[in-house]
Amino acid sequence: MTDQLQTALLEAQNDDGGWSVDGSGQSQTEATALAVLAAKSTDPASRGAEWLSAHQRPDGAWPPWPSVDLTSWATPLAVLALSKIDPPAAQTGAEWLLDQGGRGYPWYTKLFYRLFPDRKAIELDADLTGWPWLPDTFSWVEPTAYALIALKSLRDRLPPRTAARIDEGERMILDRTCPGGGWNYGNSRVLDEDLWPYPDTTALALIALQDAPAGEEIETSLEALEQMLEHNQSGLALSLAILCFRLYNRPTEALEERLVERLEDVVAYGETRSVALSSMALDQTTNPFAFGSHDRS
């Protein structure tokens, strides 16, 4: 089955070596990084890696698109994709990541909430620093998960302060856990109403927390992810869930069967991210999101 996905990825590769979001248009960092991870040690992967190396900014970060003059949340994915192929580029990218952090509330919001504690609309600890989508903005779950995955993968090559950033990033993600488990983009409760989790974000958060100390949030979120998959059959949700459950030694055969049944739709839908993640999910030999030793069985 991975042959079908690898063929789809190969056909979608742009002449410049990168991948676009949906097989048409400009090459983009996130899609290219995920395709490189999925294509493993092939020639297309090498060309994709060259595209990534060529588009790294002087500050070590990657833009979301080459035409956008901004650093971005896609940097940890590029770091991960290049960690073995272009270690110096991955290293500078990871060091850039270490210097980034989401902004907490500004002084006037802190003052407001101190003066009017009952007006606190969103229940989260804004002083916990994770990673933002865009520099100098708030921390959110998905960019924090990507940053944790990249930093943990390269941990041995990074300075000692990495441990503190990882620890706080993990605490930030745990702080954003939805009541009942799982994660959405990063708000669990707003104006006294619970918000619901998403399977893709939940799986990513759990992947990032794969070596974190076991706790109630993780166990309930694993259960919540199982339940979410009863209603969401997308290639993105299934593939990320498989990659996640494998890290937690949970059975994935049934999910793999469901993903295989949906492959034609996934390929037809044509989103590079889903095709690449599906290929990784159905590849039993490696998991690009696994780092270090862990055993939760």
């Binding site: 983009q28 500004p106 003052l111 989508w133 959110w140 969401n232």
Partner: protein, 335 residues
């Protein structure tokens, strides 16, 4: 997150604002860029349900404005921020389908559906679960994910948010006609979300993330103004008010049957009319009040209702406690 404007307001901010740098109420837009019409037309068209003949209802509304879309590239931007099977968050698929066919019947060369969902990244799920995917399959319309569309850096023509520039999607910037197609909803931060607020969905997540939090940092109302001031293409607005959302919108409110669709080229006048239909005073919605200065008309004396009068179809939308102040003090009687 509460923004600076909300804080200053809560702290009786006029005096505080005057003492803070960057808060002077100077000119926030380029006068040459905005020529406000003295009057605007809006059409309220009754629509009891999402059953047929919705396409005829939309054609009726569009024909009132004699829109020339012949051989034009029309981009429809529904509100498609999130999905809840029990909720009424999004522009109804039937409205989208009817709008696609209506613009085609008026001669549009191409009708594109474009949206950048604000919360979720799983479009495969969103499209199939919401029914939008079926609409696209049935009509053959192209869907562009504005979160991942190619972008251009656009200098903002007004400066309320302080952002100065945004990367915006080429599908929107290159449209011959851009149609905002929102749901009529209350909004727990902005008061109401209608055709103007719907433009948050054109801000690309691939650059700015999910949710579009940069816009919250910069101030929701201020960002609404700057985006609406800056897309620079001909616009039209069609609001799905057949079943709206009241209370804790835009995601967790309750459905309320209003039985209307609202049409117009002036987004400020359309949103003002929708607010009045919701028994909300548009002058008390901060961004609408500021929009009246340069983007369009808010006053009911300069909005000509060419469809049904407001009072015939007005409903009393519930708002959250902290927005009680935006409710109209008396029911609208003017048409």
């Amino acid at each position: 997150m509460i923004d600076r404007r909300e804080f200053l307001k809560a702290a009786s901010g006029a005096a505080v604002a005057a003492a803070l740098p960057g808060c002077q109420q100077g000119e926030r837009w380029h006068p040459a860029a905005f020529v406000k019409q003295p009057r605007s037309q809006v059409a309220i068209v009754p629509a009891a349900s999402y059953e047929r003949p919705l396409e005829e209802t939309i054609l009726t509304g569009l024909k009132l404005f004699r829109l020339d879309v012949n051989d034009r590239n029309v981009v429809l931007k529904p509100n498609f921020v999130e999905f809840d099977p029990q909720g009424v968050i999004n522009t109804h698929p039937a409205v989208l389908a009817a709008a696609i066919e209506a613009f085609r019947r008026l001669g549009a060369r191409e009708v594109i559906v474009a949206e950048g969902p604000g919360h979720r990244r799983d479009n495969e799920y969103l499209l199939s679960a919401s029914g939008i995917g079926d609409v696209l399959a049935d009509t053959g319309a192209t869907f562009i994910d504005l979160n991942h569309d190619a972008v251009r850096r656009v200098a903002l023509d007004s400066d309320y948010s302080g952002l100065r520039h945004l990367y915006l999607p080429e599908t929107v910037l290159d449209a011959d006609l851009f149609v905002s197609l929102p749901k009529m909803k209350t909004h727990h931060w902005a008061g109401v979300t209608l055709s103007m607020k719907n433009l948050f969905g054109i801000v690309p997540g691939s650059v700015y993330g999910w949710p579009k939090n940069l816009l919250h940092w910069a101030g929701i109302g201020d960002s609404i103004l700057d985006i609406n001031a800056s897309i620079g293409v001909p616009r039209f607005n069609i609001v799905d008010g057949i079943v709206g959302m009241q209370g804790n919108g835009p995601i967790q409110g309750e459905p309320i049957h209003s039985g209307v669709m609202v049409f117009g080229a002036d987004p400020v006048a359309v949103d003002a009319t929708c607010a009045r239909l919701m028994n909300i005073d548009p002058w008390k919605i901060g961004y609408l009040e500021r929009a009246d200065a340069f983007l369009g008309n808010l006053g009911d004396d300069v909005i000509e209702q060419i469809g049904e009068p407001v009072d015939r179809l007005q409903q009393d939308y519930r708002v959250l406690e902290h927005f009680q102040g935006i409710k109209a003090t008396s029911r609208v009687t003017a048409g």
